[in-house]
Symmetry: C2
Subunit: 350 residues, 2 copies
């Protein structure tokens, strides 16, 4: 089996892109030894952090050093700086595009354009960008197939905690009838803190202080982030074709300390539960606060941790619990997908 060096183009150098490059910088030798995986980052395109391109490969340790010191890579000491994301998608020296720009749940842009362009130009694509997958999965899947390349996206749900690859690969052959999950860490953190006695407002402030919640927390607390993940679960794992408008969505902003206490008295916990049910071919999707008994596998998932329970025909419920976000955690999602492409194109030895 001839090994070859994967030439990676990275679009977006925010938290996820940095997390991925950080892993490569720390673990390159181990990845070569364990998986026969050789790589070069040949280009990075980010309108804020800076863009740089060098077919010979960038120095990953240098990239991390620059970002840690200056917060950008605009002064990387060599390579071309006059390139952009589309240049990378079309470049002859790129084999894999890693698309990790911010998610836009309405248009999917700019990720959608990047992914389309890369697939059309015969590049494998790995992404953690929820927008394009939620909005255009069937189209992108077809485009990947037509061009004989892979499109992989473990990071869109539960970051590096296996969810997508678990369901599509490790559970292959089983039918998933229902998925229930805690897919947003911020709201689960807030609900956990409320159980400890904080009001919603106090818990939200604490989440913001710790960097779990944005200054404008709407996307999390109103259930939008959970809803877009629900769309992905429905469309990718259960053969649905729904949009975010089809998700029966309710956030946690109306939950009071009194509600939380009352649930506790009843031996329950309030959790923001994402659910997709398939019945006679029809998909129903919702994101709602629910009172669930303590014996329920999702009841004991606390803090920023996420979890998904897959109800399957052959196994009954299978639950996975792990981190739902984070720089290195989502970097791991990118890494595992890149390694999967390597494995599938190099004989599948594990």
């Amino acid at each position: 089996m001839v090994s070859h060096t994967w030439r990676i183009g990275l679009i977006g150098f925010g938290n996820v892109g940095q997390g991925f490059v950080r892993i490569l910088a720390n673990k390159g030798g181990k990845l070569r030894e364990r998986y026969g995986f050789e790589f070069k980052i040949v280009g990075i395109a980010d309108p804020v952090k800076g863009s740089v391109f060098d077919p010979e490969g960038l120095d990953v340790k240098k990239l991390i050093e620059l970002i840690d010191k200056y917060g950008h890579i605009r002064d990387y000491p060599s390579g071309r700086k006059d390139i952009d994301s589309i240049f990378l998608c079309r470049s002859d020296v790129v084999d894999i595009i890693v698309e990790v720009t911010p998610t836009n749940i309405e248009t999917g842009e700019p990720g959608l354009t990047h992914i389309r362009e890369a697939l059309k130009h015969g590049k494998h694509v790995v992404t953690s960008n929820k927008g394009p997958i939620a909005i255009a999965y069937p189209e992108l899947k077809k485009l990947a197939e037509e061009n004989g390349v892979f499109l992989r996206f473990e990071g869109v749900v539960l970051s590096g905690t296996p969810a997508i690859n678990l369901a599509l690969e490790a559970l292959a052959g089983a039918d998933i009838k229902r998925v229930q999950g805690i897919v947003n860490g911020t709201t689960n953190f807030i609900l956990t803190k409320m159980e400890e006695g904080m009001t919603y407002e106090e818990a939200l402030k604490e989440a913001q202080r710790l960097g779990y919640a944005e200054a404008d927390p709407t996307a999390d607390v109103e259930g939008w982030d959970a809803a877009i993940k629900t769309v992905i679960i429905a469309n990718v794992l259960m053969g649905g074709s729904i949009t975010i408008k089809d998700v029966d969505r309710e956030g946690i902003t109306k939950i009071t300390l009194e509600d939380v206490r009352k649930a506790k008295e009843e031996g329950c916990r309030i959790k923001l539960i994402a659910e997709v049910v398939k019945e006679e071919g029809t998909i129903k999707a919702s994101v709602k606060p629910r009172k669930i008994p303590l014996a329920h596998p999702l009841a004991n998932v606390m803090g920023a941790t996420n979890a998904l329970t897959f109800e399957t025909d052959h196994l009954g419920p299978v639950t996975i619990v792990g981190p739902g976000a984070g720089r290195v955690e989502t970097g791991q999602a990118i890494l595992t997908d890149v390694l999967a492409i390597h494995r599938y194109t190099h004989g599948g030895r594990i």
Copy 2:
């Protein structure tokens, strides 16, 4: 991509083999449609249930009908009956050997011989047989590589609940530093019943009545079954090379109702915990009853359910919870491995 019909030889037609064939009988059309997976069972070899061989393929519905009606397939209406397991391992018309004979944790036989023979003759092997994997993984892995075939064994731990494939594939790139788990359903069922107030003896009888425990329950209650799985976790997932003698093993037979009550008062539960820790390259493995706090992800795994927590460098703890045994559940493990071989040899589309 040219599809082709996989010719499967099944060695062992007990619970797991029947579970697998039952799934194929029910779901053949769906598997073809969803994965482009075409198959024939060309032979079954079982010294008790009967052996039959037909290169044209056996009728899976007929096999299930016979086993349900008579408990054996010795009167299957066509094909050769004068074949045995070694014949299947060497047959030119077999592509995949499914080895599902009973586990022998001391010698690994007869599974070990079957697997060696099949790999040497260029057959892919899928097994749920713990013995050969625990005893001879490095040798068998090398043999598979030398012969350009796959050896897969999701079913050896947690039946069809993804554990092996989860760790090796979906978590690829992460280092597993520690694994803790509940890997024996019988003992977990007994401990659950004791928490409900039964004595050890009463709980064991109940487990026997429900078919969870054997008439001689030693393998389960003394921790041997958990220990052999611990060896597999250490050697396959964490690069160890230990034997069952290296596992610090203690069963649950000395646990009293008083111990269980006392733990409960302290906000804990007693669970039989399999653990493998890797520290500075050294592997330590144990199976022991432990008092764990209710907030621990394994504390709420009740009844015959199993679970594994992987402590990883990139993700922290990742826990999978699901069934640990069962006819269809282990049949699903076989199916997912066969589908993985299909996927790896047909371009990896998911």
